[in-house]
Amino acid sequence: MIKNILNLGDAALYCDFGSDVNQEINSNVIKYFYRIKKLNLRGITNLTPSYNKLIISYDLNIHSFLSLKKKIENIEIKENNKLEKNLIKIPVCCDNNFALDIKRVENKLKLKSEIILEKFFSKNYFCYMTGFVAGMPFLGDLNQEMRLKRLETPRVKVPKGSVGITEQFCNIYTFETPGGWNILGNTPQNIFDTSNQSNPNLVNPGDTIKFYRITLDQYNEIKR
């Protein structure tokens, strides 16, 4: 049962699962997302899970807010419904050409770059959501001592494949796009594949990510 459903405009339900960002709340969002997706209800045009919200867009020709709200809020999820978790390993090169913000991160965190990278690579990360641009995963959580804010002035162009951190999160820029995260490296792996129509995303909500470090030579080898 989803308790708190508001409207976002006149053609979307705004399901609020809480104000905090943690894996328990997010897992609940993701479970409902997969459950509703599987029901394949007529007139639902999009589902957007995020840290603690699920937005359900619908066709106004088919549903009104109140009728759809009633349908959605009564959907139950069985207690034993476990989230399917895939472990995905992603290579990252932290060569100076790629680690665009390593100096800034050193200064802000007051840690040496080698320590920062060691801490970064020592942890597995949980995928909270994907989006903003196609396939971009929002991952967490970074250790307490690794957390810092975004760049004061966002970059107009962040190179494709950049791996960045901000607050408790890290992400991968699947396309060249504007952005303000602190860039620690770059992956040669394609995270979003337009030609794969059935499953274009390498990383999906609920997955676990293990980053591993590669040399520039290995990077170029994979790129080739």
């Binding site: 006149d10 999009n46 937005i55 959501m129 994907t130 989006g131 396309f175």
Partner: protein, 318 residues
């Protein structure tokens, strides 16, 4: 295909942001892909109805200035929707065309789409089908994510537009329609409405905002009175829908349009109602707009009325 059997347009001038569009792609927000699709759905619907095409047939969308096209092949009809100035260049001479009216093209004829008038988007199509590839069930080009035919890019000079099917039983049709404009954009208050000071809430509905040049298929940036945030300039990133009005850290509104990023972290002050979206996107940079608050129930009714009006226009095509 032998060249004598081909029916195609050659692009002599691409125009601005010229792309294929249809109704767009659904159920991909969760991986970061927006709806896309024709910005002005009414003009999209009217064009396919005028040409007796399938309701979701691909059309060519352009902004401000359209393409200049030269036709090669057997006789075909074309039509343009929106408020558009264009010329038809044939061996007999040059004539000015009217929107919402079908014209015959013969081998070697040209259509030169000069501009949209006091509006942004116009649409061009034929009594038949363009040869396009489909991505997730849609041929809409999303240039930001490079998804769609033409490698997800807008049209360029010398590109050839293939026509794979012509409807031979077509009868020339027209519609007398002058278009529909709007002064106030009606909105529903947003999920973060209480993030803003009372005086800013009042300003949002009382004063006018100017549409800036930083507007495209992804979003429309506005300038006007600064909207003061008294809670937090950011929220935990969450899903967006088209029509959402976010307030940036600088206090300026930005309206999400059809190719918008699927997730955003700015507070939402309001959302444009579905009934006003087609007319919102046609407002040109420099225009001033005012927002008017309506209830959810009114918005639902207004959308039904808008759709009835569109269906009424379609029934007037003859």
């Amino acid at each position: 295909m032998k060249s004598k059997d081909r029916n195609y347009f050659k692009i002599l001038r691409a125009g601005i942001n010229t792309t294929y569009q249809d109704l767009g792609r659904n159920n991909l927000y969760h991986i970061g892909i927006p709806f896309s699709g024709a910005m002005d759905k009414r003009n999209f619907q009217l064009l396919n109805s005028l040409l007796q095409n399938d309701y979701n047939s691909p059309v060519i969308e352009f902004a401000y200035q359209g393409p200049h096209l030269k036709y090669f092949g057997k006789d075909i009809f074309f039509c343009i929707s929106g408020n558009v100035s264009f010329k038809i260049i044939t061996k007999e001479g040059v004539i000015d065309g009217n929107s919402y009216q079908c014209y015959l093209l013969k081998n070697g004829d040209e259509v030169d789409i000069h501009s949209t008038n006091k509006s942004v988007y116009g649409y061009f199509s034929i009594n038949g089908t363009f040869g396009v590839d489909y991505y997730w069930g849609s041929c809409s080009i999303n240039t930001q994510a490079q998804i769609g035919p033409n490698n997800g890019n807008k049209f360029s000079k010398d590109l050839e537009i293939e026509i794979i099917d012509i409807n031979n039983s077509f009868n020339k049709r027209k519609l007398d329609y002058l278009g529909s404009t709007i002064e106030n954009i009606r909105v529903i208050k947003g999920t973060n409405y209480d993030y803003f000071s009372e005086s800013s809430q009042n300003k949002f509905f009382k004063e006018s905002f100017k549409i800036t040049k930083l507007s495209d298929r992804m979003g429309m940036r506005l300038e006007g009175p600064k909207i003061e945030n008294i809670v937090d300039p950011n929220i935990k990133s969450e899903g967006l829908v088209k029509g959402v009005i976010q307030i940036t850290s600088a206090g300026d509104p930005i309206i999400m349009l059809s190719d918008h990023g699927t997730i955003g972290g700015y507070p939402k002050i309001a959302t444009v109602i579905s009934a006003d979206y087609d007319r919102l996107v046609q407002l040109t940079p420099g225009s001033n707009i005012k927002f008017k608050d309506v209830s959810l129930e009114d918005a639902e009714t207004l959308y039904k009325l808008y759709q009835m009006e569109t269906n009424n226009l379609i029934s007037q095509i003859k």
